[in-house]
Amino acid sequence: MITTREQERKARQDKRFVSKQTQTSAKYLRRIAELSGAPDGMEPFYRALLRIYVDMQGVNVPQGVKTIGTYCVMAPQELIYAAGAMPVKLCSGNYTAFFVGDDIAPRDACPLVKAVAGFKHTELMPVYDDCSMMIVPVTCDCKKKIAGMLEGKCDVMTMHIPATRGDDEIDSFVSQLYELAARLEDVTGNRITYDSLANAFSMVGHAQYELSEFVRLKKQHPYLIRGTHAMTMMNAAAYMSAPAWANAMHRVNVSLRRRASSGQTVTGKKLPRILLTGSPIVFPNMKIPLLIEEMGGIVAGDETCMGERGMYDPPVITDNSFDGMMRALANRSLRPCPCPTFADNSQRLFRLKQLIRDNQIQGVIYLVLRGCLVYDFEYKRIEEELGRLGIPVIRLESDYNEEDVEQLRIRIEAFIELIKLRQAPEKKPTIRRDFNEQVLHRA
């Protein structure tokens, strides 16, 4: 029996949770918006994040359209759109939910999972509570347990992610996608037909087209946009429908193109170019990209799940039958994904090298969320390999709170100074030559 006092206590707690949650989210959104050099057309992305985190509303969908939550980019959105539903990425970066989840999940669990557990416990976030079904690809132990924890309120489908990416694994993943399609049909009551799947492909494909344009612009014109803004756009994709996101992205691309043709850059200065990689960075946990850019660096590229990686790889249809499209999805989900859940993940290293080459990166910041073992495992190898290329790397370990901000600030500032020193200002070599000449003269 629940007494009135307990009820009151719960209501008080909820109220505190809501006010704290909206405050932090609004604060980070403001910090992002205040950052200089934002391109025109960012408003739709801000609005999407504002709606979810500050106004505490569900995603913007027409009446009757069900939302399906996903916990990883390996769950293909195309299938969800084909079933007439709307996919939402539920991986969380919320500090307030993290504090709640801290008591539920074990101490060593990663903050992302703790935050999800927190939202599940409080049942106050409409994005989570509106979901008709949740898809949890089991990419690590924490995800496996969170899948069990989420069970009960809505349908939860776990997807087995194999440790390797051989032909047999792809085949079994295809049959898993069929199972997923069947369950999606049951939940939404819509049929996934050839036509709906093909339309879903074009819908998501259009968004990917705009993204690839964006990536190309960014590559050709360095200092065109700040990484924090880019990451905000990618994060907003989690709560926007693909066509809406593509439209918003198109407007940004147009403004960026205008910027590029007039030779305009973010600050007009040559900022140290930094690549951000490692554990997922989910709004509102944007402290690290914000710190980097506030300390005078620029996040010139990111290799994180909620960043460009999520939609970067297009599904390539080599067989235009229904089964061929399912296979294209399975192939896209597993093979190009540089997720550390795979046993042999040397392709992540190549992906990083590619990003470094394309974006003229000068330093790499490797974020490890406390307890995120798979990403932590890969740090050593990446540090070694990039060291051979002469690219400095630092590992930042962080949690979902603001206690370590000052410590992070010092480390990031030092790292940026280091890159600036290595950048070799123009004056130095001439002094050195003079000095040499003097020495020679004397001799």
């Binding site: 494909g205 087209y209 390539v316």
Partner: protein, 388 residues
């Protein structure tokens, strides 16, 4: 245990193939009373021409029947599978098409070359008087068509015992021209010139047009085909020495001579042609995977001018090239060091380059000149917003 079983099965298959090839003359598919190798331009436009085409019609009819049967059987088999059966009948209702990239010049040129060359090979001699019979190209275009534009190396390679009875100058011309083609073009002859390849590509086009699902790339399929390929090579070279005739076995006999208006009796080759057509329908260029002549040409892949080059840093290992490759070459996406990824099996069809989503990751070069380079823009061209 499992591998032993597999070895026994492949050995049995190969033995069966060998027996079939040796006694090929005993299994007539369609026999004319007399084989008439006389063809003329007039004959092409007379009713008699239709009579020579009869075996071809039978082949096409039987293949169509086989394809329909296989599709029906597959549906029946999938009925027991809980998940697949639900989706097995999901055929397009409206005219919606799966997103497709816009055609690229390379592919258009390849198709044009294939079609024009096959046409000239078969009818060139009859219609336009084009004949340069001394030059041999290593393709499966049947030399029983005596009016062929040019010689095909397959006859003398499979009848080596006869080759050495020829005058020395002919032998030199034969080897010279064959080697020249092998070194200049390599297996690009398979992808660009071979009429057998064209037939299989047409079957694949029919499949994509009807949106039937094919057999997807799997290493097991290719592993099973490799011993059969070796067996075919042995038969191809060795059959003449033990008194057999590879031509009674070769599926290519069923096209060129018949289309040129020569009444040619078909033996096992007719059955094999049906196999090649049905196989080519479900698995693109299936016969090329076991083609003995292609294998011999492929042995010299290190010297040929056509190469597939890869920028390993740009690759994301998405495996699209492997999925698209009709020859099942896996190293093309797993390779992470070498620039040159040309393989013995590569037929230079350019599918991998077409499907590669990374800018400049894959390119098809000839003597160092880039003919075709992958680009994301091409891949995404199907998704580009329509211009208002």
């Amino acid at each position: 245990m499992k591998s032993r079983k597999r070895i026994i099965i492949t050995l049995l298959v190969c033995l069966g193939l060998a027996a079939l090839a040796y006694f090929a003359y005993m299994f007539p598919f369609y026999e004319f009373e007399t084989n008439d190798y006389e063809a003329s331009r007039e004959k092409l436009f007379s009713l008699e021409y239709l009579k020579t085409l009869v075996p071809l019609f039978i082949i096409i009819g039987l293949s169509a029947l086989g394809i329909v049967l296989i599709i029906w059987l597959r549906k029946l088999m999938l009925k027991t599978d809980k998940n697949y059966s639900r989706f097995s009948g999901r055929q397009p209702v409206r005219k919606t098409k799966a997103p497709k990239q816009k055609p690229v010049p390379f592919m258009i040129i390849r198709w044009a070359v294939m079609i024009v060359f096959a046409f000239l090979m078969i009818w060139g001699g009859l219609l336009f008087g084009l004949k340069m019979s001394s030059v041999s190209i290593p393709i499966l275009s049947c030399p029983w068509n005596t009016e062929q534009m040019t010689e095909s190396s397959c006859y003398y390679l499979s009848h080596l015992s006869e080759l050495f009875e020829l005058p020395i100058s002919s032998i030199l011309i034969f080897f010279g021209s064959t080697l020249a083609f092998i070194i200049l073009l390599g297996r690009a002859v398979c992808g660009f010139l071979c009429p057998m390849g064209l037939i299989q590509d047409i079957m694949d086009k029919i499949r994509t047009k009807t949106r039937t699902e094919g057999i997807s790339a799997n290493e097991k399929v290719y592993n099973a085909l490799t011993p059969i390929k070796w067996c075919m090579v042995l038969l191809f070279i060795g059959l003449c020495f033990i008194g057999g005739n590879f031509c009674n076995f070769c599926p290519a006999v069923a096209t060129s001579p018949i289309l040129a208006g020569m009444s040619t009796s078909l033996y096992v080759s007719g059955f094999l042609m049906i196999f090649a057509l049905i196989g080519g329908f479900f698995k693109r260029r299936l016969f090329c995977n076991i083609c003995p002549l292609g294998y011999i040409v492929g042995l010299f892949h290190k010297f040929s001018l056509f190469r597939i080059k890869k920028d390993c840093t740009a690759c994301t290992e998405c495996g699209a090239c492997y999925e698209a490759c009709p020859m099942g070459i896996k190293t093309i996406y797993t390779e992470r060091g070498k620039i040159d990824v040309t393989e013995a099996n590569c037929i230079m069809c350019g599918e991998c380059v077409k499907c590669c989503p990374e800018d400049k990751a894959l390119s098809l070069t000839c003597a160092g000149i880039k003919l075709y380079t992958s680009s994301r823009k091409d891949i995404m061209s199907g998704y580009a917003p329509k211009k208002k």
